[in-house]
Amino acid sequence: MLKRVSTLRTTGLLGLVTLALLGTAAAAPKKVTGYASLGVTEGKPGGTYTLALGDSPQSLFYYGVIDNNLGLVSQQLFDGLVEFNYATYKVEPALAESWTVSPDGRTYTFKLRQGVKWSDGQAFDADDVVFTYSQIIMNPEARAGDAASFKLDGKQVEVRKVNATTVQFVLPRPSPAFLLQMRSFIMPKHKLLKFSQEGGAKPADINGAWPSNVKESEVVGTGPFRLSNYTAGQKVSLVKNPNYWKVDARGTKLPYLAGLDFLIIRDPQAQVAQFLAGNIDQLNITGAQFPDLKQREVAGAPFKVFRSTALFGSPPFVAYNFDAKDPALAKVFSDVRFRRAMQGALNRERIIDTVYNGLAGLPGHGVAPVNRDWYANTRSQLGSFNLAAAGQALDALGIRDTNRDGVRNLPGGKNLEFDLTYGTDSSVYPAIATIIQNDFKALGVKVNLRGILSSKLLSTGQSGDWEMILHAFGDQPDPELRKPIWQPGGALYYWHRSLQPAQDGARPNVARMAPWERQIYEIFEDAAVTTSRSQRKALYTRWQLLFAQNLPVTPIAKPENIGAVNNRYGNYIYNLGVIPGYNPVPLIYQK
């Protein structure tokens, strides 16, 4: 075993493919430069920046709970081995200074940045990385771990320490998107050992690490800030981590800010009020809030509102249940000609104008149009809003109003009438649902609105108890990361649940797939193990075209990112939210 590994490593070293290297290998701190295009200038140290948090973090241990608010705080406390470039979204070094991938695509060797210290002064090394991956992320009992991504074809990814500054991952098979997993936050072994199996605890005990009433000094990270105070229900305060490993172009230590505060404010309107009052310095807002804030900005308020096209984020879609309880509906919904006809009754322009105040664009099919690496132009497949044409298409399917009651009838004679399930507590779903209901009515299709809590949309989708649903799934930089959503039979492919295998990861019911679904299934299987980038691109392009033509779901719009920031601060780059490896806050400075 050991011998095999060392030969693997030698071959790996011989065929070195250095993907990216910033600065020289010997310089320990990372120099953050090259963002002039984003308006980034040299800042000055000092000042406090205040952000809003939607609720109290449920814990302070990132891998113990899935909690957006904890994610936002954790982003400032921890780093991963790699991170995104703020401008290009390319993966670049973070805690790992460089890495190599063996020619067979199975061995990833990371050279760690030297001289990095935890915020309590302890040295950071390979043991922390191995500990984080083997004891936390791959621990299936960790509630917010990611064990599934580290099991390929049922076999475990191996992680091992080569020496104090080198870590190696050996994969059972090639996985080209694996590098993106290396954005996971690295945790301090010296603080968490006692909660791990290695430290003698039970596997599930890791979830109990760092509860929300933990002593602040226990929470130790390598991130730009460290925890200084947590007042439940009111505020989380962070202060600058003096040991942070990034510097600006002139060599000034980052972050510029001396402090970063999160005010806990649950109500979005209250957040806006606090922003207007100057108690919050930056706020991400929705298209609905844009006009008011923009007006105030134009009238001379001390803040600016920024718009940017979004790569990440959740574009809404409508889906029809291929396995609807009513067999007549299930048959119609499974028919691609029906879904295409109904796309003609979907007034995207109006939704973008009225619901998003024009602050959204046409969507892609599984990939955001701004994603230059993977997006295939499917715009012509989106069709245009044309009720007459949609009506003719339905006529051609034999769905006509035979009894003259204003509602079209299915071939069996039943009215074409179904429920549209949507989230009532969202700023966009109710308005979109009403527009759809109206337009479909003009077409002679009766839609009954069925409102539920947005947080229940997915579980309702997966339960199969719905007919048409309005929901959203996030875009990611690499389609491989969204495989469970878009691959037929995947865990989140809920509009055709009868394809689902009995167990996650098992082979789905391929025999029941429509020919195009089978093609998409194969594409995702192939792309997952193809190492050539151009071949993967070709595969995913075909997938997007198949998606656009067959519409497993019908995407509606791609909302833009809108943020407002107080004029006192410079170097603002839109903060995407909880995207590990994308954190522009260290560059922000107080003027």
Binding site: E141, A144, G145, N213, K235, I265
Partner: protein, 323 residues
Amino acid sequence: MLTYALRRILGMVPTLLLISVVCFVVIRLQPGSFLDQYLEDPRVTRETVESITRQLGLDQPAYVQYLTWIRGIVTEGDFGFSFVNGRPVSSLIWERLGWTVFLALLTLLVSWAIAIPLGIYTALNRYGPGSTVLNFLGYISLATPDFLVALLLIALVLNFGGTNVGGLFSPQFIDAPWSGAKVLDLLNHLWIPMIAIGLEGVAGLMRQMRASMLDVINQDYVRTARAKGLAPRRVLWRHAVRNAVNPLISLAGLSLPSLISGTIIASIVLNLPTIGPFLYDSLLNKDQYVAMTLLLFSALMLLVGNLLADLALAWADPRIRFE
């Protein structure tokens, strides 16, 4: 009186048990599960959901879950743990109880201090312009939901360039040690929730006080007192008000559970660190032990409030006897 109180307290036990069963059933009947939020995340697989279900004991039959919970309370005073926070329920509630009690008692005191004199005034000057105006304002504030008042106040403060638009402190004072400046900052923030939450209470209490004053004023004993030639002031305070205030004492007892659930929306809008939003969240997330504990606590408050009101009534009104 002591035996009476003891008997009442003992009687609470079966009532509370029954209420806890009802709470548990209601929470279980709610659709969805705590694990719903986990499904949305691409990191979570079906195996993870299963292991979390096992960790939380949600794979056990409902009655086992209930009995385990009750046994914990009775034998160890352990109210279970929060699924969401992974911490014991009692410590979480404890963290939020201080401000909740402070705000509730303060609003209660303020609204009583304003409402009772106003009620007396409007009853005595039934047709004067002053009481007409007060009655009118009372109707309006009764009809306006507290969160709307809160939103209006926030808009008003913003318009005048104020920064105290939510919460109890300015950001820099939240985790600062107590000082004169911090107290001033608190007072500067406190008046908004006082008005928003208290206003409705004031209007209701005022109407109640006015009605019972009008009842009492024409009673025989008041007329007798007047006829005996007692000073009008003495008749008013010694006889009329003392009797008219009785129904309000029961009302005060009933208002104890509002500590927990009375001001949920206003607390969210005003961003107050109280228990209300915590209960709301736990119900939404199906964080069952937190929700059950809070509901049980609320029921206990109601029972205790009733008992206290009865005791206070007996003390205030010599006509009431315990047997």
